[in-house]
């Protein structure tokens, strides 16, 4: 009985912390402007839609991986799938949830685009260092 209560509390807390953590990652990137080349490649100017997320992730996978970004992008990927599930179930009945999930999915895409921008800048720096040496 006690273990079941602890499990229920832990899972509820996990859901809350995870969603808030993902939203904090997104919020920290929301004000960062995208470089012109990432805007060209992704077609994202100031706001993004959830439909572009998979495409931006594919572009991300083409760039060299960075350990400190990996955790964030995995968390946001999982959050995006959660939103997809919500969109396919609850959002069909409640229109306001649908609008919210669309907004959040778009924010996830923008986060992925900012990460892509960072990876491109990192790759360029590495290349420049190699050329110098």
């Amino acid at each position: 009985m006690m273990a079941a209560l602890i499990l229920a509390f832990s899972l509820a807390a996990l859901l809350q912390f995870f969603i808030s953590y993902c939203r904090s990652l997104i919020a920290a990137c929301a004000k960062q402007p995208l470089s012109a080349e990432v805007q060209d490649v992704t077609g994202i100017k100031s706001s993004a839609t959830g439909d572009d997320f998979a495409r931006v992730l594919q572009l991300l996978q083409l760039c060299p991986d960075r350990p400190e970004d990996r955790n964030g992008i995995q968390a946001i990927g999982f959050y995006f799938r959660m939103l997809g599930f919500l969109r396919a179930t609850v959002a069909r009945i409640i229109p306001s949830v649908r609008a919210w999930t669309e907004l959040e999915r778009g924010n996830c895409t923008y986060f992925a685009a900012v990460t892509l921008d960072r990876r491109i800048a990192f790759s360029r720096d590495m290349f420049a260092q190699q050329m110098e040496s």
């Binding site: 079941a4 939203r23 904090s24 400190e68």
Partner: protein, 212 residues
């Protein structure tokens, strides 16, 4: 640790960094014992649970420093320190009272039960801290992310222990899941130290699942 050191944050988040240092030492020790004696050896069993208990106590104190950061303007460090020690002593005594009634291998079971209980206490304390952050409108992005990642970590570990108590047959399945989840905390902290500038600000009320 490297990220914190390079960003000159090592002393500011000293206990967090000490916890990570202890984590590295214990992981190296676990690997050496695993390689020498094997997964099913009593040496590995004892080392795993004793080191886990020590790490949990370190993480518990690291959490208390986050309380000090959040309540720094209220000059409440003394009360936080007192409360931390009181709660730790209470948890230790409660664990002892439970274990003493039901076990012969007192010290080992005590170490395991203590870390298990401290994970849950840590989860509750992190939840309270998150509520305080929302209430006090704390906006430091780095601090918010550190607290939230700690909350995710405590929740996963507490849920794992609860599942193992409810369904012991799932222990083999859950252990690798926990090991993978355990890498989340150092990586999330590294991200917070490396990526977020000191002056980065967030509006925590917008991060809450139910907007305030």
């Amino acid at each position: 640790m490297v990220c914190a050191f390079r960003k000159h944050l090592f002393r500011r988040y000293l206990l967090l960094n000490l916890y990570v240092a202890c984590l590295i030492v214990s992981e190296i020790g676990r690997y050496r014992i695993l390689a020498e004696y094997g997964l099913n050896s009593s040496q590995y069993f004892y080392f795993y649970f004793y080191s886990d208990a020590v790490l949990t106590v370190f993480l518990y104190f690291a959490l208390s420093t986050l309380y000090s950061h959040v309540f720094s303007e209220l000059k409440a460090e003394k009360y936080v320190r007192f409360g931390t020690i009181l709660l730790l002593a209470g948890t230790a005594l409660f664990t002892y009272a439970v274990v003493a009634q039901s076990s012969a291998r007192l010290v080992t079971v005590y170490a395991k039960e203590l870390s298990q209980n401290l994970y849950f206490v840590g989860l509750v304390l992190t939840y309270v801290l998150w509520a305080a952050i929302l209430k006090l409108r704390e906006t430091r992005a780095r601090l918010v992310q550190i607290v939230l990642s700690l909350g995710v970590y405590f929740s996963v570990i507490a849920a794992n222990y609860a599942i193992q108590n409810l369904m012991p047959q799932l222990m083999g399945v859950m252990s690798p899941v926990v090991q993978v989840c355990s890498t989340f905390l150092p990586l999330a902290w590294a991200y917070a130290f490396w990526r977020l500038p000191e002056d980065a600000r967030l509006t925590p009320s917008r991060l809450a699942v139910i907007p305030r």
